[in-house]
């Protein structure tokens, strides 16, 4: 689960990390009040969306009066922000963060993340923090230092001092740097984070480290340990449809084609997408039915597909396993087809556990489906149906 900047900062601030003084505003009026309350001469107005690249896309502005704050907030709120990470659809801005601008002496890059290849937590640090760090890494203009933190262990003092020196931090800053890393390491483990990124992390004139921007991702599989973090999702402005799917034990992603795709299992789903593309088709979505989904969950999923006006045909590729037999999926599809009343070609390929029983269920629901014996036949027929060809 991605967290907003203001949520991430609140979580880190509660654990001792310095962040700029700031308030969240939902309206331009609130933004003005927030600016007056901060009383700073330089103020940052920051769009709160779950994507990076905001600064370069005009989603962050630095201004110097409450009036300018109000105007900047008015220009951002309710608008769709398109950054290089949001995709062409962009993200709607429902909140702005109003912050006292920090005057940096130095800007650094710092992140903690789960390194899957080495099965450990890694600390990455760069001597120059900036929004275009990815490009600068790619061009080789800058590089990151790496330190292993194991399962969240404190690094050895010598390793820490070495890192601070390589980052060009004077010895006067070493102890503050060590405590910051301690706070971040403990927060990372306590919150079940998979990423905490401070970019930039600035050093102020009085020798303090301040996290000027923070990104945080929490492990979805660990949310059962963190009801307080689940509650933060209410402040998210995510895709409603994807949220419905999430609650229905479906992994759903919106795409821009015209074939509604349903599969059981991520691998089979990726394979199907590759075949759809090979057959010159394009999927309207990716929907993976998890092993724990019930027929009602599946029905909600197919309703999303059938209600999508872009969908010209539906492709169901299911290999019934020991955990998710075909009939559960057939029942879900049958319920959805009866409920929406939408007629569009439904191409199914069912095999494995309870495939025969699933066909019997379709007949019972009175649903017309085009039953295909193998994946490639099903994919080609779904593609030609979506192109409007008779099959």
């Amino acid at each position: 689960m991605k967290l907003h900047e203001f949520q991430s900062k609140a979580l880190l601030s509660a654990r001792g990390v310095n962040v700029p003084e700031g308030r969240v505003a939902l309206t331009p009026g609130e933004a003005r009040e927030a600016a007056l309350a901060l009383g700073a001469d330089r103020i940052a107005v920051k769009s709160q969306v779950l994507a990076g690249g905001r600064g370069l896309a005009g989603g962050v502005r630095l201004v110097s009066s409450a009036g300018e704050v109000e105007a900047a907030a008015a220009a951002m709120l309710g608008r769709t922000l398109i950054t290089e990470q949001t995709g062409p659809a962009g993200c709607r801005v429902n909140r702005v963060l109003i912050e006292t601008a920090v005057r940096p002496v130095r800007s650094l890059y710092l992140s903690l993340l789960v390194d899957a290849a080495r099965a450990e937590i890694a600390l990455l640090a760069g001597a120059e923090g900036s929004e275009d760090i990815e490009q600068r890494l790619q061009s080789g203009e800058t590089r990151l230092e790496r330190l292993s933190l194991g399962t969240g262990d404190a690094p050895e003092k010598a390793a820490l001092t070495g890192l601070a020196e390589r980052l060009g931090l004077g010895s006067g800053l070493h102890s503050a740097f060590a405590s910051l890393l301690d706070q971040l390491r403990l927060a990372f483990v306590e919150l079940d984070a998979t990423l905490i990124e401070l970019n930039p992390l600035v050093v102020t004139e009085d020798g303090k480290f301040v996290a000027v921007d923070v990104k945080m991702i929490i492990d979805d599989n660990a949310l059962f340990r963190h009801p307080e973090l689940v509650a933060l999702r209410e402040e998210h402005d995510g895709d409603e449809i994807e949220l419905v799917a999430q609650n229905r034990r479906l992994n759903y992603l919106r795409m821009d084609g015209n074939i509604g795709l349903a599969v059981n299992g991520a691998g089979l789903g990726l394979a199907t997408l590759d075949m759809v593309r090979a057959a010159n088709g394009s999927a309207a979505n990716f929907m993976d039915i998890r092993t724990t989904a019930t027929s009602l969950d599946v029905a909600h999923g197919f309703t999303l597909l059938l209600n999508n006006p872009a969908v010209r045909s539906i492709l169901v590729n299911v290999h019934g396993g020991g955990m998710q037999p075909c009939d559960t999926i057939a029942d879900g599809l049958g319920i959805a087809m009866r409920r929406t009343g939408r007629t569009c070609p439904v191409i199914v390929r069912l095999t494995g556990n309870n495939a025969e029983y699933a066909r019997f269920r379709f007949a019972n629901f009175g649903c017309k489906v085009i039953d295909c014996p193998d994946m490639w036949t099903a994919v080609s027929r779904a593609v030609s149906a979506a192109h409007g060809e008779r099959s």
Binding site: L50, A51, G52, G53, Q85, T86, G87, Y109, S111, L113, V114, D115, A116, A117, A119, I121, A122, L124, I133, E134, L137, Q138, L144, G150, T151, G152, V189, D192, L195, E197, K215, I217, D220, N221, A222, F224, L253, N264, G265, A266, G267, L268, L270, A271, T272, L273, D274, M275, R277, A278, F286, H319, G321, G322, P325, T351, G352, D374, M375, W376
Partner: protein, 293 residues
């Protein structure tokens, strides 16, 4: 011959008294797997499915002579169950549990470092040696005893490929779901090494997908060892939706390897025969094995 399991495999089930443990243990016994007991803390001394239940793995091993454990413990306690089995020096641990927190898996991997246990999974569909032993949740019916080894990161695709291999007139020596999570036990490379050491496996299918860099590690291994049996590869996700990601420099460092195209070319360069489409894997291994014979 098989890998990881054989007719002498004696299995205990951690979490046997729960719904999933009960359901799948019963199905495995029906298949012929020798399940010899269960472990559920607090239920030691009782019986379930006519098998003795123990409080701890160590006690269960001592009493039953078990040499494998399968884990059906819910995500909350799955890592603790894996670590308990590892610390008891259980030779083989198969973790079927899905959605185990990733930081828990860091601790499991740390425990594995000081141990000789082979961990398969988590989020694995299990291991199946047709007619010999099944430790897992896969449906059976389309598998056939034979000489193709299958190793896979995806449960659903494994079922698909097993059916294709059988339809091509071949059978499987062993199929191994190494698990779909980013951090898991037995790697693609290590599983391949086991297959190559098995006299009865005459061809191997490796099923990979986007994410991580295991396919590249497998490719490196194959390039060095130059196996004398055909290896067929399938890597899916070339046209996966580009998830609206929260970009960060760390992901950037790993992104190149996680791309399907990169994995495919690494495997191809290592001599792996890449299946042209996911529906052609069975045919591809049939042709490759016929050519090698």
């Amino acid at each position: 011959m098989t890998i990881l399991v054989d007719q002498n495999t004696r299995v205990i089930c951690q979490g046997m008294t729960g719904w999933a443990g009960t359901h799948y243990s019963a199905a495995m016994m029906e298949y012929g797997t020798r399940i010899v007991g269960g472990v559920t803390p607090g239920k030691g001394g009782t019986y379930h499915l006519n098998l003795p239940v123990f409080d701890e793995v160590a006690g269960a091993m001592k009493e039953t002579g078990a040499n494998a454990s399968m884990i059906f413990v819910p995500p909350e306690n799955a890592a603790a169950a894996m670590i308990e089995a590892i610390e008891a020096d259980m030779p083989l641990v198969v973790a079927l549990t899905e959605r185990v927190p990733v930081q828990d898996m860091l601790r499991v991997r740390a425990a594995l470092k000081q141990s000789s246990t082979v961990l398969v999974g988590p989020n694995s569909q299990g291991i199946l040696s047709p007619g010999v032993c099944k430790i897992g949740v896969m449906a059976t019916g389309s598998e056939r005893k034979g000489h193709v080894g299958i190793l896979s990161r995806s449960a659903s695709l494994t079922s698909e490929v097993i059916a294709q291999v059988s339809a091509a007139g071949l059978g499987q020596s062993t199929t191994v779901g190494i698990g779909g999570d980013a951090i898991h036990g037995l790697s693609m490379r290590d599983c391949m090494e086991l297959f190559l050491a098995d006299q009865d496996t005459r061809g191997v299918i490796a099923i990979g997908e986007i994410g991580g860099s295991e396919e590249q590690e497998l490719a490196e291994f194959l390039a060095a060892i130059k196996p004398d049996i055909p290896v067929v590869g399938l890597v899916v996700g070339r046209h996966a939706p580009t998830e609206r990601r929260m970009g960060h420099a760390g992901a950037f460092a790993q992104s190149a390897a996680s791309d399907a195209g990169n994995k495919i070319s690494a495997l191809k360069d290592a001599g792996v025969i890449i299946a042209k489409s996911p529906h052609l894997v069975g045919e591809t291994i049939r042709e490759a094995m016929a050519a090698a014979a």
